[in-house]
């Protein structure tokens, strides 16, 4: 989100500030450590995640614009740090961590953000947000309040896009095949945008769509919600 999709992060900052919150972004950290964690390299994952825990210590709430990174911090940090000196801190951070749409809807109780985005949109459920964190209704509740936006559900909304982190590079043929299923399902809806709360899924889907020469575009949920 920092190097490739800064607009998603910037949109999140704008939305949260507009709602009256003070946003802090710790500059010394860049990754939650999910790549080594998902490959089974827990020691390396801890060396990436350790500084993250320290950097997030003082925040009142941690808001993450990705279901996948959100699941890493909220669900897997306690497991990763179990039995280490940082175990209690990991539990504490996990308990105050929210995925962005979940935070808006279930913590702040906000769905109306005054957004205006006249377009046909289909929503992709990132697997980690959906199945690790149980987030399905929140992004849709937010999208329904966007003026001019038409939400068209695709048949394979909850099917994995095939990204899966290092899986996409280790098993490119399978990953691509899965992505193709996702893209054709999204194309069937006639939507102009695939929206999701996970930039990594969108990177994969966009990568395939661009290569296929499709005009269907991907957009992070926060970018849609920030449109006035």
């Amino acid at each position: 989100m920092d190097a490739l999709f800064p607009r998603a992060g910037i949109s999140m900052v704008h939305i949260l500030e507009r709602l009256g919150h003070r946003v802090i972004c710790p500059e010394e950290i860049a990754c939650c450590g999910q790549p080594p964690f998902n490959s089974g390299y827990f020691a390396e994952a801890r060396s990436m995640a350790g500084p993250v825990l320290e950097a997030l210590k003082t925040a009142e709430a941690v808001v993450i614009g990705s279901g996948s990174c959100g699941a890493m911090v909220k669900k897997f940090y306690p497991e990763l740090f179990a039995g280490t000196p940082q175990a209690a801190l990991a539990e504490q951070i996990a308990s105050k961590t929210w995925e962005f749409s979940d935070f808006l809807v279930n913590k702040l109780g906000v769905t109306e953000l005054g957004a205006h985005f006249p377009a046909r949109v289909t929503f992709h459920d990132g697997c980690h947000g959906l199945r690790e964190l149980g987030i399905k209704a929140s992004p849709r509740a937010l999208l329904r309040q966007v003026r001019g936006l038409e939400l068209i559900e695709m048949k394979e909304a909850a099917t994995c896009c095939g990204f899966g982190g290092t899986f996409a590079a280790k098993f490119p043929a399978i990953s691509t095949a899965m992505g193709e299923v996702k893209c054709s399902s999204a194309l069937e809806t006639g939507a102009e945008y695939i929206v999701s709360n996970d930039s990594s899924c969108l990177m994969h889907v966009q990568g395939l769509l661009s290569r296929q020469g499709q005009s269907l575009k991907t957009l992070h949920l926060a970018e849609v919600l920030a449109q006035q």
């Binding site: 999709f5 500059e27 089974g40 390299y41 390396e44 994995c160 982190g165 043929a173 990568g207 290569r211």
Partner: protein, 464 residues
């Protein structure tokens, strides 16, 4: 990379390139999903049914020793001969000894994945015996000399046309592709085999400790004939098949049918309690039950993944798995394919040789969501990855992650890395997708996103 991993990659590439097969599997499993959801809706609460099933299996597996003792005592009390097999070799030897002792020539089998697990057909054929599969799907793949494609639907990858051609070639049958006529062709062959077979071989879906019964579920009636007609019946099942009580079947039979095939109840569910008793007019004169361990007790010793022994082999996790749907069953090269196969095969056949299956997953969790007995499948894949990396780390992969950890959490190094990336990314355009492209695994089929001219952190710093 192990040979198994290389074979898996090659097979996956072949099948993912076969759009016809992928579409065929997707359509079949899409229809399954519709039927399954209809049946799920007839449960008062599918979620609480799953919880009850998981708890029942948890109790069964955690007291496996006492349940097995009770089961065996009841079975033996009615004259069943029970054998214990520690591994596949032992199981094959036990079965061959029975076959030889009975001076049998011909064996008819109903569907049993455990027999695939121990490669029984191969062993019997090599020893000169005639073996015929009586489940239609299994009969078809046996004629083709193939392993089952799916643990529940063995020949789901074949079209009617392919089956017609196979029957024409192997059985000299007619040129019809009507399912009814094709079934009649197979039936004619089989009816004769049922009557002449000396031994009927079956698997088992559940073993009831309370009553000493083996429950067999099937749609074709072939298992009933297999068990009823030959003089000797042989049943092979894994030790994890135990359920404590007969009444547990009231949940497990509809659950297996719903999760496995989208049926309210499978057509035939039969409980076998023993061989022919004095005064009875039918049934086998002798019944041998072989209880197979084959590394299951090692999985039992693994507190983290013990719940994998809950598996009732319904195939629900295969059906919903986006990897299975795109690579098909044969790609795995294992007896048990799909998510549950990827979880248990490293335990059954060696972690380092089969760890690639645990990596070949996006960890999407569709399997865990579908599992009727709530096995934590996708997290077990992650644990297998951890165990494999801890036991034998891949040098360059670990080095890569150490470098990433070093760079990502240092503000200046991260900034420098982004700047270098921005400078070099345009060059990547010239080699995109070629052998020279360092990102080829990605760029062969997908575009890479451009690095943003101003990163989030740069924006943040400029702003404050």
């Amino acid at each position: 990379m192990s040979t198994n991993a290389t074979q898996f990659q090659a097979a996956a590439e072949k099948v993912t390139g076969d759009l016809r097969q992928r579409q065929f599997i997707r359509t079949a499993l899409g229809n399954y999903e519709i039927a399954r959801d209809l049946r799920k809706a007839s449960f008062q609460s599918w979620e609480s049914a799953r919880q009850t099933a998981a708890t029942t299996k948890w109790q069964a597996i955690n007291h496996l020793d006492t349940h097995l003792e009770a089961l065996v005592a009841k079975l033996e009390a009615r004259g069943t001969k029970v054998h214990w097999a520690s591994n596949g070799v032992q199981a094959r030897e036990i079965i061959l000894a029975i076959v030889r002792d009975k001076k049998a020539r011909s064996i008819i089998k109903s569907k049993a994945m455990t027999s695939e697990e121990i490669h029984l057909n191969d062993a019997l054929e090599k020893a000169g015996f005639d073996v015929v599969e009586s489940d239609l799907g299994e009969f078809i793949v046996q004629l083709r000399g193939e392993a089952p494609y799916h643990i529940v639907f063995p020949s789901m990858h074949l079209t009617r046309g392919q089956i017609r051609e196979l029957f024409q070639k192997e059985l000299g049958s007619t040129s019809s592709d009507s399912p009814e006529e094709l079934t009649m062709v197979a039936r004619q062959v089989m009816r004769h085999k049922y009557i002449t077979a000396d031994i009927g071989f079956t698997g088992g879906n559940f073993a009831i400790a309370e009553t000493g019964m083996i429950s067999i579920t099937e749609n074709e009636g072939n298992a009933r004939l297999t068990a009823a007609l030959p003089k000797t019946m042989v049943t092979l099942l894994g030790i994890e098949k135990v359920l404590p009580k007969l009444s547990d079947l009231a949940l497990f039979l509809p659950m297996l049918a719903t999760a496995g095939a989208g049926q309210a109840l499978t057509c035939y569910n039969t409980m076998y309690g023993g061989p022919r008793q004095p005064g009875e007019v039918d049934g086998p004169e002798e019944w041998h039950v072989i209880l197979l361990d084959n590394h299951r007790t090692e999985l039992l010793a693994d507190a983290e993944q013990r719940d994998a022994l809950h598996c009732i082999r319904c195939g629900a996790c295969l059906n919903v798995c986006p990897i299975f749907r795109n690579v098909g069953g044969h790609t795995y090269g294992t007896t048990y394919s799909g998510p549950v196969g990827s979880v248990i095969t490293p335990h059954l056949r060696g972690l380092q040789d089969w760890k690639h299956l645990s990596s070949a997953s996006s960890l999407c969790g569709a399997c865990t969501e579908a599992c009727p007995v709530k096995i934590d499948l996708h997290h077990h894949l992650l644990q297998n990855r951890r165990n494999a990396a801890t036991e034998k780390p891949a040098f360059f992969e670990r080095l890569g992650y150490r470098l990433l950890a070093f760079i990502a959490n240092d503000r200046v190094l991260w900034l420098v890395a982004k700047k270098i990336g921005r400078l070099t990314q345009p060059l990547q355009h010239f080699v995109k997708g070629t052998a020279l492209d360092p990102a080829r695994a990605w760029t062969k089929t997908r575009d890479l996103p451009p690095l943003a001219p101003v990163s989030f952190k740069e924006w943040w710093r400029n702003r404050s």
